[in-house]
Every structure is written in C-alpha cells, then in structure tokens.
Assembly symmetry: C2
Homo-oligomer: 549 residues x 2
C-alpha cells in the first residue's frame, strides 16, 4: 500500500514536506521552513513537526529536494541534527544546502547526493525519475515516482512560460511521455491558482529590465532574491551590452552567485565584476548593483541605502532602484517605506505595481490546466498552498475534466492511501508547526506568545513590597518599575498615584489577617488594573513581587 | 498672501488636514486620523500634530470636511477638546461626525453646520463653493475656494466613473465651469496614481454582485465598509429583486445605515429588513447579511463567523461570503486567514483577487489627467498620498502639459505661499504624528515603542535581590521571574542556571566593596545577557530590583 502524507505545505505557503511510503520504506519530498506570521512575536522561523519521520528511524531512507528555496530546504539542518538521513538534490540545490549545513556545523557528516536528470534514483521499492522545471530558482525539478501500485508525478514548483535560457525550460516532453504511460496521481503546485492566464516569460521581463537599466542616468540598483540566478545572468548580460560594471552586494548574493559560478550556471564576462569599494571610481551610468532586500528587510543593504545609512553606497538623483520581485503579503508596508525613502532622496524606483520587472515562478491557471492535461492522472492532489488555493485548484481540476471523486484534498497529517482497489484517506497523524526562537526549537508556544503580545500592547509594571516576616510591617516599598508603559515624563506621576492606591490597600488589610500577603497581592492586582484603566485606559502586565524577610 | 500648509496627508494615506490662510483668517480642510503601522505596538490611532492650529486661537475659523472617512474626520474629537471650532460638512458627513462626538461626550457644545451645494460658504476673506464628487462614501465633495489672489480648487477624494445613482456622480460640469474662470491652483487626490486606465463603474460592480448573490445556494454574506451606502443600497435592491431578506449585522453598519436612512440616502422596501435573531426562521437562500470586518479585524462579527465562534450566524456549506473591499496593505494575512477558515467550513468566498466585486473610490491615472484638464490650473499640487504617490502624480501632471515649474510638491508642514507675483515655498512649520494609546494622547513616543518592541521580541526577566543594609548579606534571592521569555517546562531549568550565574557574582563581589550593589547590578546584567545568548540565543529585557533593608 502506497501512503502519501504531507507534513506541511497544504495549509500554508511554506513548510513543504511530503512523506511517501510503501511497505517499510519512507522518504520525504522537500523539508521546508516558513517565515513567522505577524502574531509570532520574536520567532525566527517555523518548521514542520517532523516527529513522524523521526519515529520511523532507519526506515526513513531519504529526503529528495525539488529546488533550493527556503520553503523547501530550510528545515534540513533541524532534521539532520537528529538523524543523518541522505539528502538528494540537483547541483545548485545541494550547493545551497551545503552552505546551510556548513553554517550549522553539520556539513562534515552530511550525506549529500547529486541527482541526475538522466538516471533513475532507487529508494527501496521506489524508482524516481526527475524532470527539469522552470521556476524562479535554477535547477528545479519535478519527478515521476514509480511505485508498486502505479506512478505518481509531483510537479515541483513550476511554470510553463519560457525561461531566458532554453535549458532551464520545463521539460514538457518528459511530462507528456509519463502522461502517456498512465499516471496514478498528480501532485501539483497551487500557489497561483487565483491568477488567470499565463505567466509572462523571463525574456519579456529581461526586455523591460534592459530598457530601464539602459536609460538610467545614474547607477542601476536591482534588488531581487539571491537565488534567482537566471535573472542575475540576464542583468549581467544587459550590463555587458550597455557597458556597465556589475557589483554583487551582500552576503547572500555573494554566496548564491559563487555556487552558480562554480557550476557554470552563471557566466561573467572578464573584467565586468567590480568590488563595491570601487563604486565611486567609475561614472554612475556605468554601474549596475545587484543586491537583495527587496522585501523591505530593515537590516538589508538596500534598506540602509534608502535611509542613507549605507556606508558603501549613497544613492542620489539619477540613480534607478529596481525591485525585481513580488511584494510578499505582510511585507508591503516595509517595502513601500523603502520606496518612499528613495524618492525622498531624488532617486527613481521601479517596482511591480508600475512595471513588469518581475514574474512569478509559479504557474497561473492556464498552465495549471496544461500540467493536468499533459500528465492526465487518474487522481489529482493539489499541494503547495493555503486552504483556499487547494480548494480553487481542486475546482479547476474538476473544470478540466477530472472526475470529482478522483480529486483528493490533502491536509497536513492526512494519510492518503493507494492500493489496487483505489484510494482512501484516513488517520490524521499528528502534525503542527514548531517555532524556532534563537536556539530554542519548539519551546515557544501559544502561552509564551500570548505573554509577549500582552507585553507588546501596554508594557509591564513590576511592584515590589518587602515585609518583615514576623511583624508583617512593610520594610521596603511599594516600589514600582515599568517598561513600555508610559513616557518618562508621565511615568513619575502615574506610578506615584498607583503607589498611593497600593498604600491604601496595605492600610486596610490588617496585620493579623491570615494569608495576608496573598490577600494584598490579589487586591493590589485588581486595584491597579482598575486604576490604570480609569486614568489612562491601558492594561500593562502587572508583576507583583511580594517578599518576606 | 494666501498660505496652504498640509499638516498631514502628504507623507501617508491618512492624517488628511490642510490649513488655508489669508491675512488673519485660517481654516482647515479635513481633520483625519491614520491607523497605526505595525511597529507602533499598542497604539490605537495616530493623529496629525495640530499645535499650529491651536496656536492660532480665535483666528482659526473652521474645519471644512470633504467627506466622512476616518482619514478625513477622525481627528475632530481631539481637536474639539481644546477649541470649539465650527465644523462644516454635508449631511451624511456630519451624521458620522455627530455620532463620533456623541461617543466622546463632546456633542452638546459642538458647532456643526450643514453645507449646501447651492450656496457659497463665507469664511472671512474666503468664499467656498462645493461640488459633488463620486467616492466610496456618499455625500463627498470637492471645493472651489475663492481667495483675494485667485481661486483654488480641491478635488476631494474623487473618481470620475459612474455611480450606481446618478445624483452621486462627480459634478463634472461645475469643475469645468471653474476651469473656464481661471484657476490659480488645483490640489488633487494622488491615491491611485500607480493605476493605469480608469476605475470601473459602481454599476459594473453591482452586476457582478447580483450574479454572485443570485446564485448562492445558501446565505449571501457581504462584508464591506459601513459607510459605503451606495454599495449597501445596491445590495438591498439585489435582495429585493431576488426575494431575499436583508440583515444588517454589527454596530457600525447599524449606525451608518441609520444615518443614511434618516437622510433618505438609503431606502429599504417595507418588510425587507430582518433582525439577526430571526436568521434561522427563513430558508438560507432567502437571506443576505450585510456586515463589516472585511479587513480581517479579529473581533469582528465576520471573523467570529469564520472561526465558528459567532453565536448568531453559523456559516455552512452553500453560504457565500463576499468581501467587497480592497485588501488594505498590512491586513492581507488577516484577511486571507479568514478566507481559509470559511473554505474550511465548506462555505464559498468571493474576494477581489478572483472577482470584480469591489472598486476603489479614488481616480486612476486617466481620470486624474481629466481632472487636470477640466480645472486647467496655473499651479498643480498633488495631495493625499505617500511620497511616491505625490511624485508620480507630479510626473503625470508634467506629461499632461503643466509646466514643471508650476508643479509644487507639498510636504507636511511646508508652507506654500501665493501672492500677485507667484508662488513660494518656505518655512517648514513643526508637524508630526501624535500617537493615541488608550486615554494617552502623545505620551507614547519612540522610547516607549522601543521598550515594547524589546519586550515583544524575547520577553522580560526580573531579578530581585534583598540585601541587609548593614551587613551587605543577601537576605532574599536572587529570585527570578519571567514573562514571554521561555515556556514553563524549560523556564525552571534556565532560570535556575541563571540564578547560579548571579550567585557566583554575589560571591565574587566582596561585602566591603564601595558601591557594591550597583557593581553587582552592572555585572549581573552583563552576565545574564551573555548567559541567555549562549544557552538560548535570546535577549530578554532584564530588570534588576536591588533592595537594601
């Protein structure tokens, strides 16, 4: 019996990880992270709960990667800490993984294996065959998984529009060939199911970029995702044509371009590259800077350029900043703030709202239908999306002629079973999101987040009172301290009055009352809450520190 | 000399307030608020700094309102607390202001005056004439301001596409007539300058809404902004045509529809309205619910429906939820979370990404050019936008033939002066943003926000040590308390180890050392910071409480 179980990626864009099992053998497609949502205060990254895999121990045979984006490879270091499972991927994907494992101090023992598009990969009863797919990172693949009950095709993250480089195009022929063999199930990328029509081609984006870079009277500064090697190659080619030098700015760009150059995926004409320290040695209109920070990340080189605090690059009138990436939901205000700052400095900014300088890496609706038609599966399983994406993709499949009963809506933890008699879904296994904050993996949960939210809203007030253990007399305090509550000038005033509120309680609670200290504590908390509500309508967290000495 | 000074609205969408002065007389167009940005933790609303107006005292003669959106009227209660200036507006706008002042306990003394589109309004040397504009709230106006040095036209928030109700269309004839008289300057709405073409008409939106509501097999639940009376009337008309009852759900919808009904701006056929408590008394396909919460506000009735915690309405398969409003940047994740929840319940959701069930109230580029052509001003001043919007609008004006030297880029606080010889910009007056948190107006500034951010990131650790004043011996502690730092299970562990770190310091600092307590405090803070960084890579706020008794 074949089992397909997503551990993540079917309730979110992120956390992509799907377990494939037959008999005793299991492997996973991808092991991705997610960036925290707004309410996850202080959280660095989010991981899928991988306990299901850990419990399989030696029966868990491999992780097979489709491509090198964080939502597909970001959880690998956390998995490898606990089990040294082999990782399979294309050269560029493994290049990024290698870098990641090096930073985590896990590279020495890691078992990384390069996959080839011309060879089958055997994992126990499975035989995997990989197909090139065009995506916003180079070296992406989809795959056909031959199993004893039939062949399953996974689209990977794909689009069908033309890449700037023909060898990067989706291998339509191979998908069609598999379609002709009879396919049990297709798992397909749902990200852009809300978008009608087709993605524009990378070539069209290149043409727009060329026009903008060519006519920039000053520096052209292009911000994009570091792994978008095709776009970087296009910009290098444009720079060469228009006699501009190229500067790679920032650590992640340096890392990814180095990996791509080592693999010959990125080719730089001799002498075109320049160090950022030399930027003022050539005329402004002979420079292209390639950098990251296009999501408005506040510590990025781009954000520091925008606010004038970048020591290497001071932007000025004539410079053109090109944000060649999507405005990811949640980042829009950070991005537009950077745009406004650049305008303020007299620089010009080109961004997706006003020009086609970006294209998504994920297929639009027409391409999604084409994938279904090429693969022509018996069963269809939409993956890689939030609930609404999967549901829209399921509807699209129905419109495209797949019988409703053969469309399976997956869920994180839902076990989809195939055997000779058909398909069944059963058993939600335990899944979830594991929050990483600093070195803590999983210790920050809803109670800590709730406390952080309360602290963030109105700050904190600490009340210290020291009693004489024998007499019950107050020997110190009430002393009040606050953070994030009110401004210094007002603070003295409000905290002094709050002190009077507490003194009244201390007077009223007789020294011989049983449990006196805890009575005072309870009354004080409630009185302070009321007092702050009445005077300033805020609800700081009140921490009473009642000490007997 | 005529002076035009924006106090807000030229560096943000929000805080719209522009002071117009001649000689001793000043008045303001609008007095709006802004909703807090993500980093303004715990802040309720943001106001423009109105000190410039307060200082004018009796010379400040009026606030004239263009329409009733919060970014144009929201600061009025805060202004009226300090000075009882007369407020002028159209009937619906004043209806909303009246409600607002009532809630603030300021209505009794307020001086509210209804303006008419057929009469001039005199304010000292100024003569104001109002023109109907079509916007996403009823009863919006633009205005012509006759001054001793020429006539200034303010567009208000406008679009030129057709309303569903002809009497709500922008009064193009009157704008053209003024254009023919010779206009000194045009101030025009820049919000949608990034959008090509024209807004679609309210009628087109109505047709789409009708199709969706008519074919919903269950309840149709439409979420929109409460003040969008035209859209509400359209939905009522659709409900009547398709034999559905109408339920107004939520306080703000009840308020705005009541104001509109009192003014006869909203007409309900007899018997069409139903109370929400009766919702289960009629078949699902005979109900339309009109509600708010379309921005994903977590406490809204809609959000509670989505999570199944709304006591009045349980959505179920067959119900169609229609989000008839824009995804405002910053709210996207909250909105999509609600959408996913509804899908999870089997309900269907229609939203702007997948259907034209919403249109902006602000003109697109072609309409913006038409406004310039109609009014044909000598000077052009783009308003109502962030920096990038104003700069794009200035460029559009240049393309439309207005000489570059006659295009003035305004700024919050920049005084634009007109006299017989021309225009000058000088003197930035002091402006800024005033943050409102609870009853505190202006006391939360960057230092409090910084503290809240630190608290939100990694929580807080309070360390209490009580020393004997004479001997220096520790009589209590070190006692450690934390909030929002680590999960309970881990907490004991980490805080116990941290206690040992402090005990070591206490041992090392000799009892006779001068300033012993403050030395301990300093060493302890630094040691704890290092310890937490090393063990868990977090930086909680450490509050030492060192007491001598």
């Amino acid at each position: 019996m074949l089992k397909i179980t997503p551990l993540g990626g079917t309730r979110e864009i992120g956390l992509n990880m799907t377990v494939i099992e037959y008999g005793d053998t299991a492997f996973a497609i991808d092991a991705g992270l997610m960036f925290p949502e707004g309410y996850m205060l202080g959280v660095d990254i989010v991981l899928p709960d991988m306990d299901y895999i850990r419990e399989k121990g030696k029966n868990f045979a491999a992780v097979v990667l489709t491509h090198g984006h964080e939502d597909h490879i970001g959880a690998i270091p956390y998995l490898l800490r606990d089990m040294n499972v082999p990782i399979f991927g294309t050269p560029f994907t493994l290049g990024l993984v290698r870098h990641k494992l090096e930073e985590a101090g896990l590279l020495a023992n890691a078992r990384l294996h390069t996959i080839s598009l011309d060879e089958f990969l055997r994992i126990g009863p499975f035989e995997l065959d990989f197909m090139r797919v065009n995506h916003s990172v180079v070296d992406g693949v989809g795959m056909a998984i031959k199993t004893p009950v039939g062949t399953v095709v996974h689209s990977g993250d794909f689009k069908l529009s033309q890449s700037a480089f023909p060898w990067m195009n989706t291998d339509v022929d191979k998908f069609v060939w598999y379609g002709g063999q009879g396919i049990l199930a297709l798992l397909s990328d749902s990200t852009n199911v809300e978008k009608d029509g087709r993605t524009i081609s990378d070539m069209a984006v290149g043409e727009t970029l060329e026009k903008i870079i060519a006519k920039s009277p000053g520096r052209a500064i292009v911000a994009l995702f570091a792994s978008n090697i095709v776009r970087i190659q296009q910009i290098v080619d444009i720079a060469e044509k228009h006699n501009r030098k190229v500067i790679f700015d920032g650590r992640s760009i340096e890392t990814s371009t180095q990996i791509a150059r080592d693999l010959d995926y990125l080719r730089l004409p001799d002498g075109i590259e320049m160090n950022i320290r030399q930027i003022d040695e050539v005329p402004d209109d002979e420079v292209v800077v390639i950098t990251t920070g296009s999501q408005g990340e506040p510590m990025s080189s781009l954000a520091r350029m925008a606010t004038g605090s970048n020591k290497m690059i001071k932007t000025r009138p004539g410079d053109t900043i090109i944000l060649s990436s999507k405005f990811i939901p949640g980042n829009e205000r950070a991005i537009t703030s950077i745009i406004n700052h650049f305008y303020e400095q007299g620089a010009d900014v080109v961004y997706e709202k006003i020009s086609d300088i970006h294209v998504s890496g994920h297929a639009f609706r027409e391409e999604l239908i084409e994938m279904m038609q090429m693969v022509n599966p018996t069963y269809f399983i939409p993956v890689h999306g939030e609930r609404r994406h999967l549901i829209h993709h399921a509807r699209l499949a129905k419109q495209a002629g797949i019988p409703e009963e053969n469309i399976i809506l997956p869920d994180n933890g839902l076990v989809i079973e195939f055997d000779e008699t058909g398909v069944r879904t059963k058993d939600h296994i335990t899944t979830g999101r594991v929050l990483v904050d600093g070195k803590g993996v999983g210790d920050v949960g809803s109670s800590v987040l709730r406390e952080r939210k309360e602290l963030a809203e109105d700050g904190i007030v600490v009340v210290v009172i020291v009693f004489d253990e024998e007499t019950g007399i107050v020997v110190h305090g009430p002393e009040l301290l606050s953070r994030g509550f009110v401004f210094q000038n007002l603070k003295g005033h409000i905290l002094e009055d709050a002190q009077c509120v507490i003194l009244e309680i201390l007077e009223e609670v007789r020294p011989d009352m049983p449990d006196r200290v805890s009575v005072i504590e309870t009354q004080m908390k409630s009185a302070l809450r009321q007092y702050f509500k009445f005077t300033i309508k805020r609800r700081p967290v009140v921490i009473p520190v009642m000490i007997e000495v």
